[in-house]
């Protein structure tokens, strides 16, 4: 197990450099004149141009120059310095403000998925082909069919504006209540998937041979379901939710955009829209790390939950 984790960490280092290189290349390699892009419509004086060329190491050109700047960027990154955005703000500071909001939103979404998705999935799995099962099937199909870009504005309009049950937008430093509706919208997709996965897994495990054995031992039905069936059924569900938490933590561009939540996705979206290369690369670099770590945690968790899994 220890060797497995060590190997995975080494793989993560490779994956980190690979992904940041690609993102860095995609963002900067295609740029015509980065200094003019920075200045926008205004003219650039030769003195300014010389200063900026020196600051961003733009004197080296071609592929060599690109790697020169990439190595320079990574060096700063490893020292914890994410650099500055084109607007002159420290990207580390931006993330420090945005991250707690995104984490809170992600946890609300995950809680929604666990509380409603998993428990409804367990019930649907036990009572297969019942009214409950069929109605959850239709509802999840509906949720899975509607993209967030449609669902989020709909929820905002009806629940926020028309019936005024929730604040329609969150704004800076949002409260738990303000994040609740966006959290539900964001979690609805995970909820639907978790429900289906749980249902299928419970239904399959109820038919397993070991359930027949448990019955032949004369155990009460409640114990068979809670101890034997659930313990096995939830292995894939926990795995899914772990990966999902990684996804949610890396920000929800659409949901944060619609509800005006100043989280990671919101800032990333702004960076893309304003062609703020350093901001995009900075945020994505951190997201890559979050994603890699959460995947490793899920893999380790999987081995803990299922004794048959042994990583060598």
């Amino acid at each position: 197990m220890f060797r497995y984790i060590l190997r995975r960490l080494l793989q993560m280092v490779l994956a980190f450099f690979g992904t940041t290189l690609i993102v860095y290349a995609l963002t900067f390699a295609g740029q015509g004149d980065p200094i003019q892009a920075l200045a926008g419509e205004r003219p650039v004086t030769p003195a300014q141009r010389a200063y900026l060329t020196e600051k961003y190491h733009l004197d080296a050109t071609g592929v060599g120059g690109f790697f020169y700047r990439y190595v320079d960027y990574v060096k700063n990154l490893l020292q914890g310095n994410l650099g500055e955005s084109l607007t002159g703000r420290n990207i580390g500071d931006i993330l420090q403000q945005a991250w707690p909001v995104t984490v809170r939103l992600a946890l609300i979404a995950l809680a929604v998925a666990i509380i409603f998705g998993v428990s409804a999935g367990v019930i649907a799995g036990i009572r297969r082909a019942s009214i409950f099962d069929n109605s959850t099937l239709v509802l999840t199909l509906l949720v899975l069919g509607i993209p967030t870009i449609v669902l989020a504005p709909l929820a905002q309009f009806f629940l926020g504006v028309k019936w005024q049950l929730f604040p329609p937008t969150a704004g800076s430093d949002p409260t738990f209540y303000a994040l609740l509706l966006p959290g539900i919208v964001l979690g609805s997709l995970s909820l639907a998937t978790a429900l289906r996965l749980t249902r299928a897994s419970v239904a399959e495990n109820l038919r397993a041979d070991y359930v027949r054995t448990a019955r032949s031992k004369g155990l009460v039905k409640r114990r068979i379901v809670i101890v034997h069936v659930l313990r096995n059924s939830l292995i894939p569900v926990v795995t899914f939710l772990g990966v999902e938490l990684g996804n949610l933590m890396s920000g929800a561009i659409i949901t944060e955009g619609v509800f005006n939540i100043p989280g990671v996705g919101f800032n990333l979206f702004r960076g893309i829209r304003t062609e703020d290369g350093p901001l995009v690369v900075g945020i994505v670099s951190v997201l890559v790390v979050v994603y890699l770590v959460s995947n490793l945690v899920v893999d380790v968790l999987y081995a803990v939950l299922d004794p048959r899994i042994r990583y060598e």
Binding site: T213, R215, S216, K217, G218, L219, R231, L305, P307
Partner: protein, 345 residues
Amino acid sequence: MTHSTVEPTPASATPEGGHLLELRDLHVEFRTNEGVAQVINGVSYHLDAGETLAVLGESGSGKSVTAQAIMGILDTPPAFVRSGQILYRGQDLLTQSEEQRRQVRGQEIAMIFQDALSALNPVFPVGWQIGETLRQRAGMSRADARRRAIELMDLVKIPGAAKRIGDYPHQFSGGMRQRVMIAMALALEPKVLIADEPTTALDVTVQAQIMDLLADLRRELNMAMILITHDLGVVAGVADRIAVMYAGRIVEHADVRSLYKAPAHPYTKGLLESIPRLDVRGQELSTIKGLPPNLMHIPSGCPFHPRCPYVQQVCVDVVPHDLVLGDGRTSACHFAQEVRDDSAH
């Protein structure tokens, strides 16, 4: 629908009145979307304390379903017990409440299954699984259950039981896993052990060890055993009596010696003749032609008639009753006498 008439005869009589376990005219059907399959069609057999009954038949003959009906662990739906009685110590289990039946499971009648790898829960250590029965059913403490689980694992001759108690099912070999299964079934010292193809998933050498172990344990603990198998070789050394099943019926019922010497049903005869013999060179293996019947459309008359070398018009028209042949033998064949005399020489 016919009624089987197994008459008690001196060989199968019970010591003190009734049998320990007795099935009377059991009917089980599977209701599926494609239709209703008659899986058990009037099975009657009995088991006395301390004896071993082998139930023999090919896959789909209903031998496992009968066992699950006795345990009350049929999957309902699709399986439904349509009629019949399952008497345990004179009490009809089929009229009892689910709670009463649960008390019987494990405590009075226990069962082991064919594939121990899937029959054991993959995510719990074996000691925990053996101990669970003791904790939940006998109210033992965690420590006591653990101690007893080690004793049980010793009893079924798992080497280093105390060390292996925390291991998971997948860490054991097939034979050792089946021993764990047996230890678990014996936890509450049941009076009847149903072994459903206990050696089918195992290597031949391990098969013999498990069969010997089961025979020894049965004797030591003075249990009665129902041994379900499709393997005639497994039966010979262990069983007292054999019931041969075909298409959800008992077609022949006899003590082991006389059945091997002179089978009285064409199906049993076919089964015995399909065993390869070591003392004859270059023999062509004889087989029973055709396939077992589709249980949704069981043939008229005798269900074996489409495959039977003795078939006559009467076999197509009339369902054969159990013919009593003496010495506790019965055969559900119109020509039982002829078949037996044929086999005898």
